[in-house]
Symmetry: C2
Subunit: 226 residues, 2 copies
């Protein structure tokens, strides 16, 4: 943590002193990214540079996932009309309409399809046939043991790894974000016309903050690590 | 991505050319952390410096979570006897016994307890009474609508945000990690004697790698973003 960030150890709250440092972004150490990232409640409405957005997409795309199966899809909403239509389905929270891009993180529950796709990618990569067979058979065996609820829960968990890269990645690239669960997944699915296996799971509006970060409240180390 | 990392765009595989750059760690940009982090299959058995481990714990502790409720606990297994006892419950994968520290990421399903604790922390922080009441009442109302399955699924999803900070954080601090789901949560709970509400969800052994990273296989951008 740099000198602009104070840890008040007694109540485990981190407070960012200097608001201006928050937008620098580039060449930030990971510990500073973690310290300075916060759930932005309002954005300034300015559009992000598309090149930067593309860089964020790469950080999301290279997230870890169980088996490397990447069971997610991300709907990118950049036009104001769609953001306006989605606002009431997200309790009219101001992030939705004031952000630059709204990323709708969806879990992909078609795990069979993902395994088939993975097999094709392995073949294209030139991996040895026996290595492909061993890995793909292992995944297919595991997939057979899942019911619908487990399929969804598993895919959603992985999606949060991608979401984590999005929120840290935005700060690393010099802008802001807000991970959000306060929305109606059913209404989002209807408005965005997503297929049944693509389940809206978390929102991540991105853009430039127009609010002041509150101190971070965290439980003491002794309450978390045992 | 620096010059040691090549993106073979045709098959969307990222390959790390120069193994030696992987351990430098410090002052790495986030895009390099994401590129160089990989699921380490075997560690060299050396112990990590406790100061570094403490720094990683801070990165995990400051992860984002829904409402800021931090519904996780992390069991830290550093002694060899416990790692040996856990190995058969993790299909004897070599990471478990060769790592420096095994972090067992558990979801905390006692959401009521977390809200009570959060309220105490807010009071200690000196937040205005009406702000505390509004926020706590809102969370209590939400919590009442959850059944056991939703409680677990929600807590597990958040836990993957903390897991994401752990795997990126380890690379940022100059060492390696492996996010793992291949283990028996029930056997882990028995061996580690965790309370019923503390549910082993993912493993994250940390240490220094003793393997060679395979190329990362990722689906094309067009298959992920829509």
């Amino acid at each position: 943590m740099d000198s602009n960030v104070t840890c008040l150890h007694k109540c485990n709250i981190m407070f960012i002193r200097n608001r201006s440092i928050l937008q620098k972004g580039e060449h930030m150490e990971f510990k500073d990214i973690v310290a300075k990232r916060y759930a932005t409640k309002k954005f300034d409405g300015k559009k992000l540079d598309e090149k930067k957005v593309g860089e964020l997409f790469e950080l999301i795309r290279f997230s870890a996932s169980s088996f490397g199966l990447q069971p997610w899809k991300i709907k990118v909403v950049a036009d104001q009309a769609t953001k306006d239509a989605l606002a009431p389905a997200s309790w009219n929270q101001p992030q939705i309409q004031s952000c630059s891009h709204l990323l709708v993180f969806c879990a992909n529950t078609d795990i069979k399809g993902l395994i088939d796709n993975y097999e094709n990618y392995m073949k294209k990569s030139g991996a040895p046939a026996d290595a492909i067979k061993g890995y793909i058979d292992m995944m297919r065996g595991w997939e057979k043991g899942l019911d619908d609820a487990k399929r969804l829960s598993w895919a959603q968990r992985q999606t949060y790894l991608a979401l984590g890269n999005a929120i840290n990645g935005a700060k690393a690239l010099g802008f802001d974000s807000c991970p959000m669960e306060g929305f109606s997944p059913d209404d989002y699915a209807k408005i965005l016309k997503t297929p049944k296996n693509i389940v809206p799971t978390a929102l991540c509006p991105i853009g430039f903050a127009a609010d002041t970060p509150k101190p971070k409240l965290r439980f003491a180390k002794e309450e978390i690590f045992f």
